[in-house]
Subunit: 282 residues, 2 copies
């Protein structure tokens, strides 16, 4: 293509100099919420000694409200909204952005929120395998009306390195476990508090316990396609999510705002430490 | 439940007086982009003579950046992000909001953007049936790991009323047709310009032409679950999307920013006229 328009980033190869803007990127952190990804870039800038106090980081995708993107030094921080389709659009355009920018040796980490199974709320889960709603480590992609099965493998070594980082900072409980990725937050995750619910509490508990027995420690909505696309693109990838509640105890996210804000900082701290370590700044 | 926390709206029945805040809502308009939904509330306020010049409408969901919500008189305007999972979370919480607010006779209309098939860009499609990637009028919902098939019927009479509104304002081409709802923007819609593409241009064209032959006039990413949830909740619903390009001619959305902005106002105008007419203000 002569010109490639990354429509949902409001960036294009004929209007932006990708190698100049992004050529030095080595770490991409992605997460659902735009404000969390802005908080991350501010945090990592301070941690790496690259920011000035009170600095404001402009949104590189200011031309659209689909996603937000921030950069400091070798770190890119991008929001992806909620759910597989939303993160998939972002990842297609991100992989093209990295390609056009001639980036190499890039690590992509999703830092998110999730529901835990059998874990104290606030625990962090580093994903070993992303599994579907039947606990299989696969992602079903529909192409030209036909279903194609893709692997959801993540980088084992990277997961271990992240686990080691958690031990070093020693501030919260972290486990390596399977992450179930669903297409829905209410019925898809066996919640009883959606607008529609056609199963019993007993059936819900049975399902969640079966998930636990299959090694699932948390449930979120993006990891499978994230793993599949990073796999196919040959990019090293990891998923680090904090659990906001223990689904064996309930469905509603009812912790106080301040507690939830502190929980959400945990994946940022863990991944921040990892990046500092990679750059020899720890 | 004693207290219902609508987590992704940052609203709860113990912290907000739902009947006082939302009890008079009769029309809910939903769309992907938060800024477009803010533009809609400003537009409809002026059209209904309920707004003052330069008025700013506060975001009712300011406590979160997951969705944005605005209200003026009987009209609620809510963003839903991109893709089935994202709009499904919003709809579960919206239906609960309307229930807790004791609203009655509510009409919900999705005003969105889409890729057209065989239509002049800028054409508006009122959905007669939302179909999946195999052109079937159904939505597959995974519950407790099992697939449940749901109907994606929309209100025929409402579609006809909206078509009549388009004739009355007579500013752009509008058709009633099937809308294909996919889980992906690139491979799921047979685009050739994603980061990953394992099919040929010939296969792409074959697929899009088969869609056209099945009555599909546009492709988007939310209508199936929107129809399914509104159906199950007994709410009258319609989908009105503008086409940003003709997919038989290409994949990239390359029209100028100004042209795209004007296109995106078309569903707002059409639905604005419909609401005015319902309220006896035309």
């Amino acid at each position: 293509m002569k010109d490639d328009i990354l429509y949902h980033f409001a960036l294009g190869t004929s209007t932006h100099d990708f190698p100049a803007l992004f050529g030095d990127v080595k770490f991409v952190c992605v997460g659902g919420s735009a404000s969390r990804m802005k908080a991350f870039i501010t945090y990592i800038a301070e941690e790496l000694g690259l920011g000035s106090v009170g600095a404001d980081y402009p949104n590189i995708c200011a031309g659209t409200d689909r996603y937000a993107m921030y950069k400091v030094g070798p770190v890119l921080s991008v929001s992806h909204g909620m759910g597989i389709p939303s993160i998939a659009i972002m990842l297609h355009e991100l992989i093209k952005l990295l390609y056009h920018s001639k980036c190499s040796n890039v690590t992509i980490i999703r830092i998110g929120t999730s529901g835990g199974i059998g874990l104290e709320p606030g625990s962090v889960v580093i994903t070993s395998q992303s599994v579907d709603a039947t606990f299989k480590p696969q992602f079903e992609q529909v192409i030209l009306g036909k279903t194609v099965i893709r692997s959801t493998n993540l980088d084992d070594q990277l997961a271990k390195e992240l686990m080691q980082c958690s031990k070093e900072i020693h501030q919260f409980n972290t486990v390596i476990g399977n992450t179930m990725c669903t297409l829905d937050f209410y019925e898809g995750q066996a919640r009883l508090d959606g607008a529609i619910c056609l199963y019993t509490e007993e059936e819900k508990m049975q399902y969640l316990k079966a998930a636990y027995d299959a090694g699932v420690r948390n449930i979120e909505m993006e990891s499978s396609v994230f793993a599949a696309i990073c796999n196919l693109s040959g990019v090293r990838a990891a998923v680090v999510c904090v659990t906001l509640l223990n689904r064996l105890e309930g469905d509603q996210i009812s912790s106080s705002h301040d507690v939830l804000v502190e929980y959400q900082q945990r994946p940022l701290k863990l991944v921040g430490h990892f990046i500092k370590k990679c750059l020899g700044k720890v």
